[in-house]
Structure formats: C-alpha cells, structure tokens
Amino acid sequence: MSKIGVFICHCGENISATVDVERVAREIGGMEGVAHAIDYKYMCSDPGQTFIKEAVKKYGLDGVVVGACSPRMHEPTFRRACAEAGLNPYLCEMANLREHCSWVHEKSEETTEKAIDLVKMLVEKVKKNKPLDSIKVPVTKKALVIGGGIAGIQASLDIANTGHKVILVERDPSIGGHMSQLSETFPTLDCSQCILTPRMVEVAQHPNIKLYTYAELESLEGFIGNFKAKIRLKAKSVNYSTCTGCGACIQKCPVKKIPSEFNAGLGTRTAIYVPFPQAVPNKPVIDRVNCNYYKRGACKICEKTCQVGSIEWDKEDEIITEEVGAVVLATGFDVKGTDFFPEYGYGQYKDVLTGLQFERLASASGPTFGEIRRPSDGAVPKKIVFIACAGSRDPAKGIPYCSKICCMYTAKHAMLYQHKVHDGESTVFYMDIRAGGKNYEEFVRRAIEEDTVNYVRGRVARVYEKNGKLIVKGVDTLLGGEQVEIEADMVVLATAGVANCGSEQLAQKLHVSYDPYHFFAEAHPKLKPVETNTAGIYLAGACQAPKDIPETVGMASGAAVKVAALFSNDELVREPVVAVVNRLAPPLYSTCVGCFMCETACPYNAIEHEEIKGRDGSLIRNSARVNQGLCQGCGTCVAFCRSKSIDIQGYTNEQVYAEVMSLLND
C-alpha cells in the first residue's frame, strides 16, 4: 500500500478564501494509501517545505501531493524539497488548487468538492509514479546567431569573447542591419556608421566567429545543447576566396537602375553589387533577379572585367549543417512603407518619406551625400512636416502598440534638418512624446527650444499634393482642436516598426512562440525577457519588440550571457519526461512489433530502429527504440502505439488512466 503525504496550501488566503482547506485535508486523509494529510498557510515557505521534508522522513512517504498553486509555478520548489528529504523528486506532484480552482470559483460547497477531486486525482496519479533519474546530455559549445544587425553583432562578439565559437548568419550580403543605414544617433548625434563599422570589422576578423552572409536558416532540429542547424548559403555567384573586392565589376555592370535596399529605395545600385561602401564582407554578390545574364542569358560583362575570374554563373545554393548548442535570434524589425497609408497618399507622393528614408537623406553616405533634398526635384525643402505615430498606437491599422523609437528619431530628424537647412521650418505632429531614457527628454527639449522645431500635438488627417506642395491637414488638440494646414515641401512619416518579414515562418522553424504581431515571444515578460519558451533559443534586439540601439545592445549582451552560462557546463541535466519502448524477458523481448508508425509521428526523429537478436545472432525482431537525447516528451508516439508498447515517463498510461478514473469513480 502506498504511503502518500498530502499538503494543502492556504496560499495566504488565495486558496482558503474560497476552498475549505481543512476539509480538503481531512477528507483526503481518509483516502486509501494516504498516510499523512495537513494544511498550512504557505506551503512554499521555509516552514512549509520543512513540514514536507519532516513528513517524508517521519512517515516514510513514497509519494507527495502538494495542493497549492499551478505546478508551472512551484513544481520545481516542491520536488527539490522532496529530493532534499531523500524522496525521488518525480514522486512529487502538485494539484492546482489556486489557478484552476480557488481563483476561478466563488466560495461554495462545489468549489471545495472540486478541490478535493483535484487532489484525489493527483493522489491516484502519484500512486502510479515511479522514481525517475534526470537525463544528462552533452552540450555543444557553439552558438548560432541569426541576424547580423547590431543585436547579432553584439551577441556574437560577446559570446566569442567568452571563448566559445559562434556561427553568425545574415540574410543580406553584408552585416550591419538597420543601424548601418542610420545617419546620426540619438541622443548624442554621433555618426552611426562610425561607431558600428569597427564592430563589423571585429566580427569579420574574430577567430571565434564564422560569418555566413547571404545565408538563411533552412531548418533547426534537436534541442538545447544539441541543435542541428541547416543553413542555406544562397549562391552569391562570386567566388569569395579569389575575389579581391576591387569593385571593377560593379563599375561596369550595365544594370544600374535597381532601387538600392540600403538607401531605402532612394538611390540605385547595380545587379552585381556591394550594398554599401563599408560592407562586411566587402565583396559583391549578383542579384540574379535583375542581372541581364540570368534574365536573358547574355551580358557577362562583369566576368570580362574580373581580373581574377571570380564570377561563378552556375553556382547553386548550398546547404550546410552546423551543430550548435544554443541559438540567438537577432533578426531585427522592419518599418511600414509609405504605401501603408492611404490618407498620406498611398506612397504615390515622392516627397512623402519614411523615417528610414530620411535617415538615408541625412546620411553622408546617402544618395544626396547628406544634403536634405526632395526626391522629386532635388530641391531643398523649406518647409518640412514630421508625422509621429504613423501607424503605431492605431488599433484600426492593426498596430495598437507603441513603436517606441519614433519619438526620439523624429526629434533627431527635425534637429538634423534644422542643422542642415538653416532657414527651414519644421513641424512635428505628435500624439504624446515618449522620451524615457537617459538624456532623451533633454534631447527632445533641445530640438524644441534650441532648434525651434515646431511641435504640434495632434494627428494629421490627410496629406495631398497641390501645385507642387504637400498640403498637410491636421488639428492642434492643444489649441482646442483648431484646424492646422501646412503647405510643406516634404513630409516624413515615423512609420510603425513591425516584425521582420518571414519572422512567422522562422519562428515555426525554430518552434518558438510569437505574438499576434509576429514578434518573437519571450519566455516571461519580466523575468525571462531574453529566453524563449524553447530551451536553448534566446532573443536579442528588435525581433522581440521595437527597441533602440542601447536597449538592443544590452539585450544582446544579456542573451550572450545566457549562452555563456549554458556553455559553462559540459553536461545539461534534463527532465526525464521522455518516451520509452518496453523491453521484456524472452521470448517476447518487447511488445513492439516494429511497425514504426511512431517514427513517422515523432516531431524530433527520436525513434530509432533496433534489431533484437538472439544469442546465436539471428534476428528475433525489429523494434523501436527512443533516443532519449532527442525525445522532448510530447508523447505523440504513445497515443499512436496500438500495442501500448511505448510509454512516456511522468505521464504514463497507468498514471493518466488513474487520474481520469479517479475523477469519475465515486
């Protein structure tokens, strides 16, 4: 007969306010196989845990049920307490009396009866629990960082500097990300490229970092400490081992009118191109969509130009496999284009720009070499309007959240404009000014007070073109909703920051959760901001939510520390919730008949074939076997197994059956 100890927690009054906890303990105490049942104010407190430990010893308990909060909260706590008392931690289970009972029901007879049923259920389960040993798995001390913006760069460098290898994968031909596109950065107005470029070079030269640009993650298998990443190296059509990066091919390329991604569409580039002069690596790729040769089968001018014969026309995408122990997601964000806004001209007015485009105009490396000029006629705009919250905080547009960086960069844009166009007049339409951050508020004040930027609190209803001018119609809510109309030369929209394209698919490849806006979801909004729900995969930067550079860098370093901490162990201890195929005495050996339906069902390729052989070496049967390192314990195989030959530890058929039956047997 089992000797189960049951401990009912009041949780202060969280449980006892609606559940008669004394009655629960009393009735459970009378159950078959229950040796000891008490209730106590706070089971998770030190004295509470001591009660458990002492009872384990005093009554020689072979199972413990704690009726308290959700096991997702305190299961580790109570299992540890049991272990300290010498009881196998997997003989301890929790009944969820708080989240699933006391908090969701009014005080009543039924609520107490439900609590009794919930505890009973776990008592019946624990009777069928078996002691389990944790599983130890080796850790591959190499990290995969996805995304080569400032977040990925920082995370890579930090991990690499702890002495561990890093694979950095970047989708574009160069690392650098959005930060490389920025002109100057708030609140200090230092040049973005000046502070970023050294880091980019450091990445390229770091002995511990292997950089794959123009590459994307194809698939990720495995689990924490033991991932297998397949990476697609897109065909660059240029052999990087021989290319010297001289740039002659770029000069000669006849296809020159391709909108430059780096310049946010404001400038052009060639078909064979380096995205920007400071690119890392500073070698070109051929954009096969636009290249004459790939489009029409003729041209090959670059090949003729190339002194070292580096052009590889027939190069195909290559898929390589890297074994890594941890993954940092740093895929960044994107901004909405002007075409997202019908009220602002649907992107058809050339002089309505996004903030990112304005960055390029203001950048010394940009299409106008830093002069603010209208894309339409090259004239210097004398009147400019900045519209903050373009899309953001607008549930009607499906973007109810604040994009966080716009207030600051809009102030910066206005400031940069005033610095460059001294007789210019700038107006900012805003909803609220959110300038939380060191020296941020001061920065905005400077724009308003020193640089005489005209801040108007109100929304812009419409922007339309009339006689070469952009008519901006808005209201000033501080002046009692007075109509404001400005004839502007240029309008800059601080468009909302959104999840990068493909982030949903990437999340699904990695099995990490994402929010409704396709930003990756952190494991806990407060206490686990860089972890994901999938162990071994961490987040850095704006792929989690829009954020500015200092915050991104901080988060990247945080993720790097998580990786370094993981890599500080040679082995990882895992919960033994894994599937097991039965093995029996001869002549059966196993009831598994080897149909391998489980193999097709397993999401982790954890099912292996095992030949069971007799003493003479003859094959007796083919049976399934579970690779405990790969198994994640979903139990899908268990429900498929017709002969019930496979079972999952912690949720065995006997355990779940006992639970269900206990709820129904009176």
């Binding site: 005495a585 001869p586 039956m661 047997n665």
Partner: protein
C-alpha cells in the same frame, strides 16, 4: 419415464402454459440472419427451418460473463455481496437438440470435478430442458460417432419427436419434465405407438471413438498437430460456440472503492491463455494449443471425467473462419 402424444394445438397450448407460469423460455429464434437461442414469449417466434443454432445453449447454464461477487468499501469496512443462487430465474430451454442437451453432462463434469461450482449448479438446478429429436443433419454433424444420436435423451427432461401431423411423441424423462407436463396435463394424451426411430435422421458413424482414444494415447509428439493446425488463426470461435467448452477467465471490475469479480469465457486456442507473467508460454505455438483442444475433449476428459468432451454438434466446424473441420481432423487421426 413415460411416453405420450401431443397434438400441434396441444404444443401451442402447452408452450403458452409454460410462458404463463412465469418461467423464462429460451428457444431458437431466427434474427440477423442467424438462428440462436433467445428469450421468447410466443411459439411463433421460434425458428423452424435450420440445422443447428450458431451458438450452443451453454450460455444458459454458463453465461458469457457472470458476477461471482461484488464488494464495496465503506468507512474502512468491506461489504461483500456473494452470488445468490436464488437470483437465478426458473428457465425452460425449448427445442434443444440432443447434442446440446448431451453437452450438459461434460459441462457439469468440469464444473464439479474437484469443488462444486455454485453458480453453474444454481443455473442447472433452475433449468429444464425440452429437446427435439433431429430429423435432419448436415455434413458437419457427427453425434453418432461420439456416443450420441439424433434421438439421444441424455440431458433432456422432455424430448419431443415431431410427427408429420404437426404433433409429437413426448418422452417425459425426469421429475422436472413431469413438472412441465403438469402445467398443462390435458394436452398430453396416450402414446399412439409411433416408432420414434422412424422420424430420426440417419447419421452414419464416422469414426470409432475407442480407436481415436487409443491413437491419441500415443499422439502427443505426433506431427499431425502441426499439419492440422497450420491454417488455424488462433481465435476462440470454436470454443465459444461449443456446448462443452468450459474454460474461463476471472477478471476484476474495480472502480475506486467498489468492484466486482467477473467470470467470463476464455479459450485454450488463445495465445494468451497459458502465457505466464514471466513471458514464458508452455503452449507457445498454435499447434500445441490445437493439440490441447483435441486431447482435452477426446482423451483427457474420457480418462479423468469418464465423459467425452464432444457431442458431435459440429458447431466448431461451421463457425471456424478457416474451415478447421473437426470431423475431418478426428477421422484422419483415427485412420493414422
């Protein structure tokens, strides 16, 4: 033992009288494309044209599943409710074939060979058997080869032999039979002197039981078992339709603090039947299980219980999905 005559209308009257007496009556009924014993209230429900019911009448004295006892734990005390013989209703089995009636003897022999089986005996005590002699048979029938006959009265309380006029010769064979007659005494008139044998089907003897017994005595290690059993699928169809197969399993139907212990049919043809907990199975192969079936019926039972475990009803041959014809197999053993 007395012989009487009953007319067609007399049979109807008598049948109604039995039903009215409150006894439950089981008789062959044609439904779902099969003829099998079912509770009936009217003579018109009883099937006419058939050779043999699919299942034997065994279930009336040895149900498919039966509660041995039930229990409930209340406040630390266990309340036990034992099987109550009084709960078994008075039952009349109507139109039983002689081969079925003959099955009661081997069945009871098994249920009472060491201890007496309360349940079986209670059913038996409350059961009266009205058999009908056989005027037809098919290629699976072989009662005459196993000490039986189409007019065998063993196991019957009354036997009717149907006459062309719709009436019947009535053989009253036991006090239970007399009691049934007493329910409607007026319909039973003096025997008209008809010879019963005239109305029985002629079924030649197909093998010599003594000879088979002698052969089986030395056949344990014969290759015949493997040869015969190759196509056997190992199901329990033969055992479950058999009037004498008595193997059972004991199962627990427990839910929380209460439960019941159930006895249900089992079959020696199942691989699980002899499987030990260790995984060892003394009858690992189907050939061994087939051997057990034949030896048990034709050798062990005659030797130990002095009764043949087969009544020649032929049901197993008819029910077998792969035509394991017992007559053919026994005949071939006899000829070896």
């Amino acid at each position: 033992m007395e012989t009487k005559y009953i007319s067609q209308s007399g049979i109807e009257q008598w049948f109604d009288a039995i039903v009215t007496s409150g006894k439950r009556v089981f008789a062959p009924v044609n439904s779902r494309g099969q003829v099998d014993f079912k509770p009936v209230k009217k003579l018109s429900e009883v099937a006419d044209e058939y050779i043999q019911t699919t299942q034997s009448i065994k279930a009336s004295v040895y149900p498919k599943a039966e509660v041995l006892f039930s229990y409930e734990k209340v406040n630390g005390k266990v309340n036990l409710t034992d099987f109550d013989p009084e709960s078994v209703p008075e039952t009349v089995l109507w139109k039983v074939h002689p081969c079925d009636a003959a099955g009661f003897k081997p069945l009871s022999a098994i249920f009472n060979w060491d201890t007496t089986d309360k349940l079986h005996n209670a059913h038996l005590a409350k059961t009266s058997v009205i058999s009908f002699s056989c005027s037809a048979a098919d290629e699976s029938c072989f009662c005459t080869s196993v000490n039986g006959s189409p007019g065998n009265t063993a196991g019957s309380d009354i036997q009717l032999t149907m006459l062309p006029d719709g009436g019947a010769i009535v053989e009253i064979l036991s006090p239970k039979g007399e009691a049934l007659v007493a329910l409607s005494p007026s319909v039973f008139v003096a025997d008209k002197g008809e010879k019963k044998e005239k109305y029985l089907v002629d079924l030649p003897v197909r093998f010599n039981l003594e000879e088979v017994n002698a052969k089986l005595n030395k056949a344990f290690n014969s290759t015949v078992w493997k040869e015969q059993s190759e196509r056997c699928l190992g199901c329990g169809a033969c055992a479950f339709v058999c009037p004498t197969c008595a193997c059972f399993d004991i199962q627990e139907d427990a839910h929380g603090s209460k439960g019941r212990r159930i006895r249900c049919w089992d079959a020696c043809g199942f691989a699980l039947f002899t499987l030990h907990t260790s995984g060892h199975n003394p009858r690992e192969h189907q050939s061994q299980r087939w051997r057990q079936r034949i030896l048990h019926k034709f050798f062990y039972m005659p030797e130990r219980l002095s009764v043949v475990g087969c009544t020649g009803c032929g049901r197993c041959s008819r029910a077998c999905p792969v035509d394991m014809n017992i007559l053919e197999h026994i005949t071939s053993i006899a000829k070896q």
